[in-house]
C-alpha cells in the first residue's frame, strides 16, 4: 500500500503563467508498459474560472475517472500540468474536495464520524467545539441532521452520497470535484440529489467540476458543458455554455427550446466523436495467428524420452 506522498517532480516548466483559477494545460496520461501502452488522455486543455460550475460529459470508458483522478492529484500526469490559483498542484490535498462515485465512506464511522475525520484533519487548530459545530452545519446542509449517529450500512445510496458531499464540502475546498456522484443511484433519488446539489451550489457558489454521463444532468446543473471525446487518446471537445437562468426547474426545462437544442448539440457531438473514434480504431488491420485445428485421431508425440 502506498501512503500519500507529494512528488515535487510533478512541477514541470510551463511556457506562460495560467490565467484561469483552475487550469489543465496539455495534460496527457498513459497506462501500461512501453510495449502495451494505452494513451488514455492526450493533450487535455481546460480552464475554469472561480465560482464556475463545469460539467464534463462523456461515455463510460472514455477516461473520465482518469481525468478526475488527475485533477484530484491522486495520479500524476505524464505530460502537461495542472494548476490551481496559478500554482501547480502537488499530489492530492484538501483544497480539492473529491466526491467519489462509490461514496468511499468509512464503514466503521458514523455519519458524524466520517465528516469529523475530514474536519478534524483540515481544521486541526480549531477547538473541539468549533469543529463539532462545523461538522453539524455541513451534515445539516445535506439534510442528514436526523442521521448523525447512523452508520453507512444503515443509509440508502442517496444518503451515503450526501454524506460524501458533506465531507468534501466541510473541508472548505477551493474546488469541488464530483466523479459521477449520482450514477449509482436510481432515477428518483438522482433527481432529488441533483436539486440538492444545485441548492448547495447556489448557497456558496463554489467552483465545481462535475463528471457525468448524463447530458440532462449536466445541462440542469452546469454553467458550461465540456464533452470528453472518447479514449484511447481522449481529449476535450469545444465548450457548450449553458445560458439557462437559475434556479432551473426540471419540469419546465423539458419544454424549453434552448434546453432541447443544447441537449441535441451535445448528444450529437458525443455520438459523432464516438463514431470517428470507432472508425479510427478499426482502420488498423489485425493479423490473426496462423493456426490449424489439431487432429485428435493422429498419434501424439510422447514427452517421455
Amino acid at each position: 500500500m502506498t501512503l500519500p506522498v507529494s512528488d515535487p517532480s510533478a512541477t514541470s516548466s510551463r511556457p506562460c503563467p495560467p490565467d484561469s483559477f483552475f487550469e489543465l494545460s496539455a495534460v496527457s496520461k498513459s497506462y501500461g508498459a512501453v510495449e502495451s501502452r494505452t494513451d488514455v488522455l492526450c493533450g487535455v486543455n481546460l480552464g475554469i474560472s472561480e465560482g464556475e460550475f463545469v460539467a464534463i460529459v462523456g461515455f463510460s470508458g472514455s477516461g473520465k475517472s482518469t481525468l478526475i483522478s488527475l485533477m484530484g492529484g491522486l495520479i500524476e500526469p505524464d505530460a502537461g500540468s495542472i494548476s490551481l490559483r496559478g500554482a501547480p498542484i502537488q499530489g492530492p490535498g484538501p483544497d480539492r474536495g473529491v466526491v467519489f462515485q462509490n461514496y468511499s465512506l468509512l464503514p466503521w464511522l458514523s455519519v458524524e464520524g466520517n465528516v469529523a475525520l475530514a474536519v478534524d484533519e483540515v481544521f486541526s487548530d480549531w477547538t473541539a467545539a468549533q469543529r463539532r459545530e462545523h461538522v453539524l452545519r455541513y451534515v445539516e446542509l445535506v439534510n442528514l441532521g436526523e442521521a448523525l449517529a447512523k452508520f453507512p450500512s444503515e443509509l440508502s445510496g442517496g444518503m451515503r452520497q450526501r454524506v460524501s458531499v458533506a465531507r468534501a464540502l466541510a473541508t472548505d475546498p477551493a474546488i469541488l470535484l464530483l466523479d459521477e456522484p449520482l450514477s449509482a443511484l436510481d432515477a428518483l433519488t438522482r433527481a432529488t440529489l441533483q436539486d440538492e446539489i444545485e441548492r448547495i451550489w447556489e448557497e456558496d457558489r463554489k467552483t465545481v467540476v462535475l463528471i457525468t454521463n448524463d447530458v440532462d444532468e449536466a445541462i440542469l446543473l452546469a454553467d458550461r458543458i465540456v464533452p470528453l471525446r472518447p479514449g484511447p487518446r481522449a481529449t476535450l471537445g469545444p465548450s457548450f455554455p449553458v445560458r439557462l437562468s437559475r434556479p432551473r426547474n426540471r419540469t419546465a426545462l423539458n419544454h424549453d427550446p434552448e434546453f432541447k437544442s443544447l441537449r441535441n448539440m451535445v448528444t450529437q457531438y458525443l455520438i459523432e466523436a464516438a463514431a470517428t473514434q470507432a472508425s479510427e480504431s478499426y482502420s488498423q488491420p489485425v493479423s490473426l495467428p496462423d493456426v490449424e485445428p489439431m487432429d485428435l485421431s493422429a498419434p501424439r508425440l510422447s514427452i517421455v524420452r
Binding site: M1, L3, P4, L74, P92, G97, P107, V122, S153
Partner: protein, 338 residues
C-alpha cells in the same frame, strides 16, 4: 427497535443464533415455521449425539485394555461427578483447616506465645486445574497478540519488512509446541532467576510456548488485512492529506479489524490446543498435568478420568471460540452492505 428485535439482536450478538426461533415463537411470530426451525436445529444434533453415546456405550465394554475395559459414557459421567465431589470435599477441608487455625491462633495469642501463619497445602482440585489452564492460555494469548498484531501491521504496511520477516514466519510457523518447550524451559530457568518469583517457572514456560505457537494466525491475518485495505479508503486519506500515523490509526487498522479478529480467534484456538501438550511436559498444574498424572497413575479410573478431561478441554475450547466470535462481531462493521 422493539423489545423482541433487541432480544434477537442480543442473542445473535452472543453467538446464540439457535435460540432466536424461541424468541420468535414466544412472540407468536409464524409459530409453524419457528417450530420447524427448532425441530431441525435441535432435533438433528440431539439424535446425532444420542447415536454417538449409544455406539460408545455399546462398543466400550468389548474393548479390553491392560487396565480394564474402556469406560462407557456412564462411567465417565460417574468419574466427572466424583471430581466435582472431590472439589467440594477439598474446599471443606480447607475451610476446616482455616477454622482450626483461627482457634489455635486465639489460644496462642491468649497465652502470649508467638504465632506463625500457616497456609493450607492441599492438592489442587480439578477446578483449580481448569483455572490454572485458563490463566496460562490467556497469558500466552495476550503475549502472542501483543507481538503478532504490531508485527502483522508492519508486515502489511511495508513490503520490505514483510520480505524480511517472511522466511522466519514460514519456517517457525509449522514448529510443534513439543519442540519449542524444551528450549523455552531452559531459557526460562536460565533467565528467570528470582528468589521470590511472581510466577511459577512452569507457568511461564507453558505460557511462552503457547505464545510461540499461537501468534502465527494473528500475524498472518493482520498482515493480510492491512495489506488489503480498500483503495477507496486510502484515497480518502490521500485527499485529506492524513499523516502516516493518522492514516494507520484512522483508516488502516479499523479497516483490517475484522481480519485481525479472525486471526485472534484462530490463535486462541491453537493456543488452547497447544497448552495441554505444554502443561503435560512443563508440569504446569493445569489440565495437561492432570491428564499426565492420571496416565502415570494407571488405576482402573484412569481412562474415565482422562475422558472427563478430554470432554472438559473440548467444551472450554468451544466456549472460548464462542467468546471470540462475539468479540469479532463487536469489532466488525458490516462490510457486505457498504
Amino acid at each position: 427497535m422493539s423489545n423482541r428485535a433487541r432480544v434477537i439482536r442480543g442473542f445473535e450478538f452472543a453467538g446464540l443464533d439457535l435460540l432466536v426461533p424461541f424468541v420468535r415463537l414466544f412472540a407468536g411470530e409464524d409459530p409453524r415455521e419457528q417450530l420447524i426451525t427448532i425441530t431441525r436445529s435441535f432435533g438433528i444434533p440431539i439424535i446425532a449425539m444420542a447415536a454417538f453415546f449409544g455406539i460408545w456405550s455399546a462398543v466400550a465394554a468389548s474393548v479390553q485394555t491392560s487396565i480394564g475395559a474402556v469406560p462407557g459414557p456412564r462411567a465417565v459421567w460417574h468419574e466427572a461427578s466424583n471430581l466435582v465431589e472431590e472439589h467440594y470435599e477439598e474446599r471443606q477441608k480447607a475451610k476446616d483447616f482455616q477454622v482450626r487455625m483461627e482457634t489455635l491462633k486465639e489460644k496462642y495469642l491468649a497465652q502470649g506465645k508467638p504465632w506463625k501463619e500457616r497456609r493450607y497445602s492441599g492438592k489442587p482440585t480439578y477446578f483449580d486445574q481448569i483455572v490454572t489452564s485458563l490463566k496460562t492460555v490467556f497469558a500466552g494469548f495476550v503475549l502472542a497478540s501483543l507481538i503478532a498484531v504490531p508485527v502483522g501491521i508492519l508486515c502489511g504496511l511495508s513490503e520490505t519488512f514483510y520480505l524480511a520477516v517472511s522466511p522466519l514466519i514460514q519456517i517457525f510457523k509449522p514448529v510443534s509446541p513439543l519442540a519449542w518447550l524444551p528450549i523455552v524451559m531452559i531459557m526460562v530457568s536460565g533467565l528467570y532467576t528470582s528468589s521470590d518469583p511472581m510466577f511459577e517457572k512452569s507457568f511461564i514456560s507453558s505460557a511462552v510456548t503457547v505464545s510461540l505457537c499461537s501468534l502465527w494466525p494473528t500475524l498472518v491475518n493482520t498482515a493480510l488485512g492491512v495489506a488489503s485495505v480498500e483503495r477507496d479508503y486510502l484515497n480518502v486519506a490521500k485527499v485529506l492529506k492524513l499523516s502516516w500515523w493518522r492514516t494507520v490509526t484512522k483508516i488502516v487498522i479499523p479497516s483490517s479489524l475484522p481480519l485481525i479478529f479472525t486471526g485472534l480467534r484462530l490463535s486462541l484456538g491453537v493456543g488452547w490446543m497447544v497448552l495441554i501438550a505444554a502443561e503435560m511436559l512443563a508440569q504446569n498444574p493445569g489440565l495437561g498435568k492432570f491428564v499426565w498424572d492420571m496416565f502415570q497413575n494407571g488405576s482402573s479410573q484412569t481412562l474415565a478420568q482422562i475422558m472427563v478431561a478430554v470432554a472438559t478441554i473440548g467444551f472450554i475450547g468451544f466456549l472460548l471460540d464462542r467468546m471470540m466470535v462475539s468479540l469479532q462481531r463487536v469489532f466488525s462493521y458490516d462490510v457486505a452492505s457498504v
